[in-house]
């Protein structure tokens, strides 16, 4: 059960980090070929933060508030690295 919670949390974190990255001008250009509009940028960023916050839920369900929060912080690093690696492997990486 805990492995399932951890997988879910990690997927939510990767999705959240990806949305945060797309909310940045240079990565939006890299993914969609054009810079984001003001609304789009806010939407991507909002979605990113929301997904990161949602990832707290499976961590807390599986490990309780204190241990779960530590795990969440630990998983954030993996999310950043996966998204950065994916962007670097993408076609327009510099």
């Amino acid at each position: 059960m805990n492995a399932l919670y951890a997988t879910l949390a990690f997927l939510l974190i990767v999705a959240g980090m990806a949305a945060l990255a797309i909310g940045m001008a240079q990565h939006h250009r890299q993914v969609f070929g054009r810079p984001p509009g003001v609304v789009q940028r806010a939407a991507w960023r909002g979605a990113g933060w929301l997904l990161l916050a949602l990832a707290l839920a499976p961590c807390w369900l599986g490990w309780g508030a204190s241990m779960g929060s530590v795990l969440w912080v630990g998983l954030l690093a993996g999310g950043v690295l996966v998204v950065a690696g994916a962007l670097a492997a993408g076609p327009k990486a510099g």
Partner: protein, 483 residues
């Protein structure tokens, strides 16, 4: 860059690089120490993972202790856990000088090879095998690490704009700097948490003033204040004790089934004998082990500690955050990977530093030493860890002071790697990483041909294969530099 920025950069670059020579080994050993019991199991292939129910384990331990420990007043029983197989029994007069055995499912002691097992990595991580002076050194290094983290944040101007930036196909310096920045920023919360809590754990060593003043310099003072002890004098009259399994059952009624990790018998055989049961810490952040004490003869409850004073919780929560006994395999893997990422981040920083010097064609003696120590601290420490694991299986089981030879293999490999790196310079990186990668890939072969190969040991083998593959993949960044 203004003068202050230059000063920050100088502190970060020189402080980080020089102290990385020990910080990288400390991070690597600390990451391995997360799996101390698992590594210990791998290093004692005599032990079988056959599950033993706690009550049966208590019976087996009791029978063995009556055989061999009848004269000893102190008995300890470590019950099998999903991480540590077999029943550990130990007995003796003094807590620090106990004779230890591990019992198999049939109750017979397993003939074990002498080894420090996974505890070597914990010891090296926390005190470099140097006892108290080692704790001083590690404490100082930890404080420098905190300074390096803070100065690193100050000199990283584009921390938010380059949050996800990694350009492996840009020039080599750019790529290494990106890797250093990216891993550093991604693992920043973990690095702060692990370094701060590590320094806090050691604080009593290098800031003993509080203990001196409050406890008249008695080193056990703070512990005695936090941990309730339910002890009494021996009566001098012998008496038969209740079976250990009954005490275990009584303790499980308090802590819950499967929550008892160890039983300690004091004044064994005396009418005033005591049995103390300790609760597991693996389901809570603060590393505080609740305990309960029974009269060994009557089974009456003599005392229990299920709550702790706030300072104990505050301190032991930091210990718990550092040693990560909580949260099961998921948390252990997160700590293991994060620790190795921290080591990789420092290695990338060292490479940026060394490359700058190389590009200035600075080939003097100083550069040679910096290059050699840098390589030995990263690739050399991996070879040393592999030599330690390999020697565990290759040294004859009956060799006198065998455990010391395993440690000698670790340090011999490290010194050889340093000599090689000083001699060869930059190409040593690639050579040593290739060797470490291939040795890690061969670890399962060694395991399967020297008596290992159960599911737990195969898990370690699989980890070694993945790490070896990553090392081999990384060697392509160490080809002769063109850009």
């Amino acid at each position: 860059m203004n003068a202050l920025g230059k000063a920050w950069l100088g502190l970060h670059a020189w402080g980080g690089m020089l102290f990385s020579w020990l910080l990288v080994p400390i991070f690597v050993a600390g990451s391995l120490a997360v799996f101390e019991p698992e590594i210990g199991h791998w290093m004692r292939p005599e032990i079988d993972v056959a599950p033993i129910a706690p009550s049966l384990a208590a019976d087996l331990a009791e029978r063995r202790l009556h055989e061999v420990g009848e004269a000893a007043p102190l008995w300890r029983v470590r019950l099998p856990t999903p991480r540590e197989a077999g029943v550990g029994v130990s007995w003796g007069a003094q807590p620090r000088q106990l004779t230890e055995e591990v019992l198999a499912a049939d109750g017979r002691p397993v003939p074990l090879r002498a080894t420090h097992g996974g505890h070597f990595f914990t010891d090296f991580h926390a005190e470099l095998m140097l006892g108290k002076s080692g704790r001083w050194i590690v404490g100082v290094i930890g404080i420098v690490m905190l300074a390096a983290i803070v100065s690193g944040i100050f000199i990283h101007h584009r921390i938010l704009r380059d949050f996800f930036t990694f350009r492996p196909r840009a020039n080599r310096r750019r790529a290494w700097l990106d890797a250093h920045n990216l891993i550093g920023v991604a693992t920043l919360p973990f690095l702060l948490l692990i370094t701060y809590s590590g320094v806090m754990i050691l604080a009593d060593t290098f800031m003993p003033a509080a203990t001196q003043a409050l406890y008249d310099g008695k080193p056990g003072g703070p512990r005695a204040d936090a941990v309730k002890a339910f002890s009494r004098k021996a009566s001098g009259e012998p008496a038969a004790m209740l079976p250990l399994r009954e005490h275990l059952a009584a303790a499980e009624r308090i802590f819950g089934p499967g929550k008892v990790t160890s039983l300690t018998v004091r004044l064994a055989g005396d009418r005033h004998a005591l049995v103390q049961a300790h609760r597991t810490v693996d389901d809570r952040l603060g590393a505080v082990a609740d305990h309960v004490t029974f009269d060994a003869v009557t089974g009456a409850l003599l005392g229990q500690q299920l709550s702790w004073n706030p300072m104990t919780y505050a301190y032991r929560a930091q210990v718990g955050l550092h040693v990560a006994h909580f949260g099961g395999p998921v948390v252990r893997w997160v700590y293991f990977v994060s620790g190795l990422l921290g080591a990789a981040m420092m290695a990338a920083g060292t490479l940026v530093f060394l490359r700058k010097r190389r590009q200035r064609h600075d080939t003097g003696a100083v550069s040679r030493v910096l290059e050699g120590c840098g390589c030995a601290s990263v690739a050399g420490i991996l070879l040393a860890c592999l030599a330690y694991l390999g020697s565990n299986r290759l040294l004859p089981a009956g060799l006198p002071s065998r455990d010391a030879w395993e440690v000698a293999a670790f340090f011999a490999a490290w010194v050889l790697a340093l000599g090689h790196a000083l001699w060869r310079g930059f190409p040593a990186w690639r050579g040593q990483l290739l060797l470490a990668g291939w040795l890690a890939l061969l670890l399962p072969v060694l395991d399967l041909t020297t008596g290992g190969g159960d599911a737990w040991r195969l898990a370690l083998d699989a980890t070694a294969v993945v790490c070896g593959g990553l090392l081999l993949a990384a060697t392509r960044f160490f080809r002769k530099e063109s850009s």
